[in-house]
């Protein structure tokens, strides 16, 4: 494989290089399951960091959950945060380094359950950070238990008969909630299940970092993602299932732009 990717090989065979791994990604092989969205989000995020040439200015906060090892793959300075506390850690970093770019990368349990207070208050203070929220409606790392974002009827290891709202609560649409807060500047919900969706996500990242550069306020990018292992589906089926079942509950698109709510 390496031979094929080698530049000399490309030149000798008169081949055009259409995509290269950015230097902002390390060479470490990722541990994510086949078909999982994390790797794609990592790739897109680091492409943007490379294109904006902000590797020396950006600090990430790594989560607890499947992407707990994010710092092994992202070739930037990073801090690992306790479960749910990433927004608080990001706040601490950003306040002492206001001219740097700071983002947190969090799953649904991290951001919408144990870290709800930190999530909402960082947004409400209008912290000039980017919060990346990977919503796959399940606790992946711990073995597929119910998340706050698990949709009604969805079977997990702790909702074996399907989540029922009356006893187990309702899917938590945190992005819509956050969008209401005055200090919040840009909120969007994206996905990475198609090439077009990946391109849209990339645009969102570019926009969010531009906003942070201009110190305009808090940005949240939710990525509706799949969990083939936790959902017990093949990658292809999981993407289909996501489109059919997750998108109606978590509709894609911008929720707040330039500090103004988007009417949908």
């Amino acid at each position: 494989m390496n031979e094929i990717l080698d530049k000399t090989y490309l030149e000798q065979n008169d081949l055009e290089c259409v995509w290269e791994k950015p230097d902002t990604l390390t060479d470490t092989r990722m541990h994510y399951c086949p078909g999982c969205g994390h790797g794609v989000v990592h790739k897109v995020l680091m492409e943007v960091v490379q294109e904006l040439n902000i590797q020396s200015e950006i600090i990430g906060v790594a989560p607890v959950g499947c992407s707990v090892f994010a710092y092994n793959y992202l070739n930037i300075d990073m801090q690992e945060a306790a479960h749910g506390r990433a927004a608080a850690v990001a706040t601490g970093i950003k306040r002492v380094l206001p001219n740097n770019y700071v983002f947190s990368y969090q799953g649904d349990g991290d951001l919408a359950a144990i870290g709800t207070a930190e999530t909402i208050h960082a947004a409400n203070r209008g912290e000039n950070i980017l919060v990346i929220f990977i919503n796959n409606a399940i606790y992946g790392m711990t073995g597929g238990q119910m998340a706050p974002t698990t949709i009604l009827g969805m079977k997990t290891s702790t909702t074996p008969f399907g989540r029922e709202g009356e006893t187990q609560g309702f899917p938590f649409r945190i992005t819509e909630l956050i969008a209401q807060l005055p200090g919040v500047y840009y909120v969007t919900r994206q996905a990475v299940h198609t090439p077009n969706a990946v391109r849209q996500l990339k645009k969102s990242f570019l926009k969010a970092f531009q906003i942070q550069k201009e110190k305009k306020g808090y940005c949240l990018i939710e990525v509706v993602s799949n969990c083939p292992s936790g959902w017990k589906m093949t990658p292809v089926v999981s993407n289909q299932w996501m489109e059919e079942n997750m998108f109606p509950v978590y509709p894609l698109g911008d929720k707040k732009i330039d500090g103004k709510l988007v009417n949908d």
């Binding site: 020396s56 306790a82 608080a88 706040t91 002492v96």
Partner: protein, 370 residues
């Protein structure tokens, strides 16, 4: 800025933090320490410190984590129940080797307890407090002057050892007013190497990672061994204590913080009545001054520990004495502060009951009389 001031202990801590070059404070109000955040919100902010009142103690300590990891001198302060909430973050900081100052103006507990002075957080402060094998360096001031002085020391110790440092004082020390003289501080944040901090990765170095996650058992054990080695260095180098009239003492009182001041007067009372009593005041509660107890146990007939709790430092004193001489305990709880006369009476009871017996005292503390 005047170097001599009349101020509350809490204010002395806040003013010292500004002078020690603390970059950022994150906290949540709780009695009896709220003057720290109030003072910093006004004076600290004006003098360039980042001062934030945030949503909870949990958030506050994690902001300290982030700020410290980014290379700043960072601190928080709270009182007992709030410190309990911070334990998760403190454990993470100890593991990730992040320097910071955590001030605990101890109130009565357990639970919501009382807002009155107490020393019931000794175990929590000195034995870890959160999960895992770790220690904080714990400094116990006994005056408003020391509330100020120890802040400078605390930041320097934190940066030297890359370890959180706690100032443990009780509510009375936070609230009482005394003259404070501010010393000139020589070391600042810039005096210490912070090349490990996450400030953005330049092309000239590898990325910096602040983490406490070590999945592989061998790696985790190596980290633990490294931490234990560091704690041993701290124990070898940083023990601090004060001795008062112990050279000719028959009985030595052991007390820290506010109770040490009361014991000082009780020892004087005893001497006025013909009994030679001295005082050992541990200044560092971790590392605990075991070596001086090893010396004292050969020289004195008995030791009496006085605390505003049910007997916590008592266990460390017993460890230091190793059963060679009787150790007695007198404690009050609930925010009640014993008078020097009360302690003097207990010393006389102790002398009468125990010191004339050959056998060492049992480890159970004496039943407390009300």
């Amino acid at each position: 800025m005047s170097n001599v001031r009349l101020m509350k202990g809490n204010e002395a801590i806040a003013e010292a933090a500004i002078r020690a070059g603390c970059n950022a404070y994150f906290g949540y109000p709780i009695t009896p320490q709220s003057e720290i955040i109030e003072y910093l919100a006004e004076v600290g902010r004006e003098r360039g410190m980042i001062v934030m009142q945030v949503e909870s103690e949990v958030a506050a300590i994690n902001m300290v984590y982030g700020a410290s990891g980014a290379g700043a001198r960072a601190m928080t302060s709270s009182s007992s129940p709030g410190i309990s909430l911070m334990q998760e973050g403190i454990s993470y900081m100890a593991s990730a080797e992040l320097p910071a100052l955590v001030v605990n103006i101890n109130r009565g507990g357990p639970g919501l307890g009382t807002i009155q002075p107490a020393q019931g957080d000794y175990f929590q402060a000195t034995k870890g407090g959160g999960h895992g094998d770790y220690h904080l360096i714990v400094l116990a001031p006994a005056s408003c002057q020391e509330m100020a002085d120890f802040v400078f020391d605390a930041f320097d110790l934190a940066d030297t050892y890359r370890n959180p440092v706690m100032i443990l004082a009780d509510g009375a020390l936070g609230q009482m007013m005394e003259k404070v003289v501010f010393k000139e501080h020589t070391k600042t944040n810039h005096s210490f190497d912070k090349s490990w901090a996450t400030t953005g990765k330049p092309t000239t170095r590898e990325r910096n990672i602040i983490t406490s996650l070590f999945i592989q058992p061998e790696k985790m054990e190596a980290v633990n061994l490294h931490l234990q080695k560091k704690y041993q260095t701290i124990c070898n180098n940083e023990i601090r204590y004060q001795l008062v009239d112990t050279d000719d003492a028959e009985i030595v009182l052991v007390a820290y913080g506010l109770s040490a001041r009361i014991c000082h007067r009780a020892a004087e009372l005893a001497r006025e009545n013909g009994l030679n009593v001295g005082l050992l005041r541990p200044i560092t509660l971790y590392p605990f001054p075991y070596p001086i107890l090893h010396e004292l146990r050969r020289k004195v007939k008995g030791i009496m520990v006085v605390e505003l709790n049910a007997g916590q430092m008592l266990e460390d004193v017993q460890l230091g004495v190793e059963g060679m001489i009787p150790v007695e305990f007198y404690g009050r709880m609930g925010g009640i502060i014993p008078s020097p006369d009360e302690i003097y009476e207990k010393i006389m009871e102790f002398k009468k009951m125990k010191l004339n017996k050959k056998s060492p005292a049992a480890f159970q503390p004496m039943q407390q009389s009300n």
